[in-house]
Symmetry: C2
Subunit: 132 residues, 2 copies
């Protein structure tokens, strides 16, 4: 019987995620946690984050060539993401009004996570090219 151990590393990673409003990447989390556990390794941060994602308490925003961003599901609140392709800024969008189709999925597929992402340019990055 496999049991998850409540290590200090795990606690610290979870706390770091809980404390931030941003959507940090593994390196940022590592930096934060280091102030509490100076010897924690980046590998452990990655392994812990993987576990949290599998447990469904953390969401990810994944972009090729960019570090994965992690997002703690505060209170299990369902929400989606707005991602700026230029600067990488990520904003949350509450999911109140969204009704996603549950039909049309392949037979037998077990949904573990639904992601709705709007990719584009944030207000700052979209501003018309000032006269160059």
């Amino acid at each position: 019987m496999t049991m998850v151990r409540n290590t200090r590393q795990r606690q610290a990673v979870i706390q770091a995620l809980r404390e931030t409003q941003s959507h940090p990447d593994a390196a940022w989390i590592h930096g934060q946690v280091r102030s509490v556990l100076p010897s924690i390794s980046l590998g452990t941060v990655y392994r812990t984050l993987d576990a949290l994602v599998r447990d469904g308490v953390v969401m990810t925003i994944e972009r090729a060539g960019q570090a994965t961003r992690f997002d703690y599901k505060h209170g299990g609140h369902v929400h989606y993401h707005v991602v700026c392709r230029q600067c990488g800024a990520i904003h949350d969008v509450s999911a109140e009004a969204v009704t996603l189709p549950s039909a049309g999925l392949p037979a037998g597929f077990v949904v573990q996570d639904v992601r709705l992402e709007y990719h584009g340019l944030c207000a700052d990055c979209a501003q018309p090219e000032e006269q160059l």
Copy 2:
């Protein structure tokens, strides 16, 4: 005035994408295109795919640590993706019934691409652990 040149490399990459029903990665596309243009480099495939994504004619499914998968928008048909976390299989889901919220986005954000992804386990990978 920047103009896109219709190179043979670009044509070949587009054709490879059009011909497949799968959601190939850059390496697969490179392999395909090589049968027509033996000397095309993987770098060029990546650059071409980037351009096609920017042009909005190709969608991507991006996963950390996994090669990005590319999907040609045949006839501009809007659809979403079902992704198996285990085996990486990707299925399309038509978007007919979906009504996505256009409100709630940050002011001034310019949406270029909307992604709806269902992540989980496909029927094969989800089958209950046979008695081990």
